[in-house]
Symmetry: C2
Subunit: 226 residues, 2 copies
């Protein structure tokens, strides 16, 4: 198909497609003339993935390139989730330096919190895991806000997260082709995270509405700002 | 305290503090001279919140201003979570226009999916809720990627999200002061979402490592890209 048809099929403007081609996110089409190329279904699939990562996933072009690289490099089905998981950006706090003594104390306390959690749940993850590092940074920030979790609170969240992760892996089951599995892993990691967060927000909204209704409130607590 | 002490206490550079003051995110200090002002504990608390929102929460200055506005406007304890919840940005897909017919079909299918879910779980949320709209957009995008949830899959995630939301509300329990409750709501919504996502990723990592270990793999599937 021509680039105009590729644009129509995916809803991505031609100018954006050309940008993704220049950035190396999308492989070149088969040249049919000096200024024309023919694209196939693999371009449609790849472009939909790029669009999903950059819109729903909120990833930058550089981050998208890293994820696509991890997808392309995945050689085994087992490695797909792992490679993608480490390639996808994690929410990390870009902390400024505070009082060095206070900073080190917070780091040590948060690190101990994470180590205690991993031991309590018998989770296998090395200290070099970006997930372990990012969780430590997040818990440190919560401590600074004086909003840290009690150990049993954090463990309760972690047990629910474990059940969510089992559902995630079930969604990837039955796909044997490594590249397809890697792409499914990208979808699960980058796109299903906002879906779960929205479900959580909806559940919060439902519960607040019920409490307000029970207390005789007007239910107008959920009003758009301004 | 002076601005230098405020910077030391919070780890926020003086230039950033001045920027937040100019942007109206941080209330002015008490002027003690033409070029000097005195700051109090309320500035420390507010600055830590701003920092948490903009770093861990990943919010823009404009979004941070909206959230702080919602916090300041909260008059009742019940309203705090609702106001903050609607003020905080939700992950929304910024969709380009695709084939209008295909687009409308996807919208209708995703809308039906959300309506079915809300009915099945008996969740109370109007169609105007930003959470309902964003969830519809996300499910539509998953359909386009041919990675939609089966209804029972989505319901399984939603039931886990409900349990997470109950833990969230427990964390806000026992705080009676509306402003403190609103600030806790910001922390729960903006900062605990990444924490849960990290716990989910850690649980995935643990499960993949176990499967690989069981299959005799080398466990090097989790390797940093490049």
């Amino acid at each position: 198909m021509k680039i105009s048809e590729l644009s129509r099929r995916t809803g991505v403007p031609v100018a954006s497609i050309k940008y993704f081609l220049r950035q190396g996110l999308l492989p070149a089409g088969r040249a049919t003339a000096a200024t024309a190329a023919e694209y196939g279904e693999e371009h449609v699939q790849r472009l939909r993935l790029i669009k999903a990562l950059t819109t729903l996933g909120g990833l930058s072009i550089a981050a998208t390139r890293d994820v696509l690289g991890a997808v392309d490099r995945a050689h085994s089905a087992e490695g797909a989730l792992g490679a993608v998981s480490y390639a996808l950006p994690v929410p990390v706090a870009s902390l400024h330096d505070a009082d060095p003594a206070e900073e080190a104390e917070g780091e040590a306390a948060a690190g101990a919190e994470v180590a205690e959690l991993l031991a309590a749940l018998d989770w296998q993850a090395p200290g070099t895991s970006p997930h372990v590092k990012a969780l430590t940074a997040a818990l440190k920030e919560l401590r600074r806000l004086d909003a840290q979790y009690a150990p049993e609170e954090l463990a309760a969240y972690a047990r629910l997260a474990e059940q969510v992760a089992l559902l995630d892996l079930e969604r990837a089951a039955g796909i044997d082709d490594p590249v397809s599995l890697a792409e499914r892993a990208v979808v699960v990691l980058a796109i299903c995270a906002p879906v779960f967060e929205l479900l959580r927000r909806l559940a919060q909204e439902d519960q607040v509405r019920r409490r307000v209704a029970g207390g005789g409130g007007g239910g107008d607590e959920y009003a758009a700002p301004r």
